[in-house]
Amino acid sequence: MTEILEKKIGYLTAEFPPLTEFFSDYGITFNDLHATLGETLEGLAEEHYEDMGIDREKLLENLDGFLQRITLSEIAEAPTVSEITIIGGHDKNGHPEEIELTLLRGSVTSIVGPTGSGKSRLLADIEWMAQNDTPTGRTIRVNGQKPDPELRFSLEYKLVAQLSQNMNFVMDTTVEEFVFMHAESRMITAIDTLVADIIAQANLLAGEPFTAQTPVTALSGGQSRALMIADTAFLSSSPVVLIDEIENAGIDRKKALSLLVRKEKIVLMATHDPILALMAERRLIIKNGGIQKIVTTTSREKENLIKLEEIDNKFLALRTRLRSGEMLEEL
């Protein structure tokens, strides 16, 4: 840390361009590029620190954390997750949950059960990497091992990315700026092609096309969901993706799932939609706070999935006709 204080401002801002923005967060702009960082910080009046609500020590601590991120060391340390194992605890009445379930990358599992049955608790257990220290008594293993407890708080190592029905974009940006900002926060290089890829993929999922210049707040429900899924598939560092119902309209659910699978995500889907549930290889039945049963989707069910999709397509076709002003006297 002391090393960087001896470096010249001109060198630092050329070598690590994000530093300029980092310091502007603290109201610090650089005038003398030949001065060292140490001299510059030394030269700031006590008042400046007081106004910014930070002291020199804390600023350096934050700088250190920021540098670690831009030099990718934090990311490199986080081990890749290839599988997650859920070891059962107990349900709300204390009955043991006799289960040991391993979820592999690229697999799709659906979760069914009434509201309040414990679906979110299961996800929370995975996210927190529970070690028999949550109300369910479950234990989570990552790659077969007990994870380092410090990883619970690491941003780069968050296990679960979440997509739900009531999520919206609140930022006031265009689609392109939005994805760009996300990529930047992940310190990803070659952002431009990635951003274009994500927008192209999202358009494949969405029924109605949108462009890079569309404001995110102007996207329809289906378009938003499509962009969120494509963005999560490409940019989220989390290996597990939880989907809380994908609505029927305006998004190709089959393509959405296969994109996530192709991107090697462990997909968990809380759903009561028969099509989505049968698209998964298996489903967890949750009751009274515990996983009551694990069902593998049978070949008979897979056959029915085809029929269900036919019904669904028919229904979608009716929607399209309705939208274009047709009468529905003939079905």
Partner: protein
């Protein structure tokens, strides 16, 4: 599962701050429920400016509550002048844990005390540039709780958390849903690792509070140079090239 014998000996104090409507009370309600289900005795102190209904909410959970309204004083200054009394009150009731919630009205608030677990609650809806606009209450917190994650996209959550990390490199960042309580039992387990506080006499704030003491602090209402005395700061008007 939390067990009483595991952790608590004397009372722990936790200070919670955050901008208005960020979800401080909702988060605390869930934490208190989780504490109660582990058989621990919690109490709450709510600092606010003009009025609050939160005391009733805490009371409905069956825990003792104190309310402090700062009126026309800076609520932060009011907090630091009264927190010791509240601590004594909590100890006299034999509480295991006392939470002190204060409203962060000007974003320059600085209610955190050295050696006392400090929590800042902010929400995803504030916009990604907000973390840098929040002063010591975020920058010097030990735990930053981010709420309302259920209504924004995954990408916005990740960008927001990244911005928080930039403003505070060391804090533990937790996502808690104030409505469903998701994340609250995990947050509770961190509260239980808080150091114990026997007295605050001689304690030190982590950072200086927003300064005041000008003629307006003393009740001046007239506008104009000649009426301004004391700690007065001037805006720097920049001459922009058109």
């Amino acid at each position: 599962m939390l067990f009483k014998s595991d952790v608590i000996k004397t009372m722990k104090l936790v200070t919670i701050s955050g901008p208005p409507s960020s979800g401080k009370t909702a988060v605390l309600v869930n934490v208190i429920k989780s504490l109660k289900s582990s058989g621990l005795r919690a109490g709450a102190v709510k600092y606010d400016c003009l009025a609050t209904d939160d005391d009733a909410l805490f009371r409905s959970l069956g825990i003792p509550v104190q309310t402090g309204l700062s009126g026309n004083l800076c609520p932060d200054h009011y907090f630091v002048s009264n927190i010791e009394e509240c601590l004594k009150w909590g100890i006299s009731l034999n509480l295991d844990l006392l939470v002190s919630e204060s409203a962060g009205l000007c974003n320059r608030c600085s209610p955190h005390i050295k050696g006392v677990l400090a929590v800042c609650v902010i929400d995803n809806l504030m916009g990604v540039t907000t973390p840098k606009k929040i002063g010591p209450m975020l920058k010097f917190a030990d735990i930053v709780v981010i709420t309302k994650g259920d209504i924004v996209s995954q990408a916005e959550r990740e960008v927001f958390a990244f911005q928080v990390r930039r403003a505070n490199a060391k804090a533990k960042i937790m996502h808690v849903n104030g409505i469903t309580g998701q994340g609250a039992s995990e947050l509770t387990s961190l509260f239980l690792q808080a150091p114990e506080t026997e007295t605050l006499d001689g304690g030190i704030l982590r950072f200086s509070m927003p300064a005041a003491l000008c003629s307006y602090c003393l009740g001046e209402t007239k506008i104009g140079m000649e009426h301004q005395l004391g700690n007065v700061k001037r805006i720097k008007i920049k001459q922009e090239q058109p």
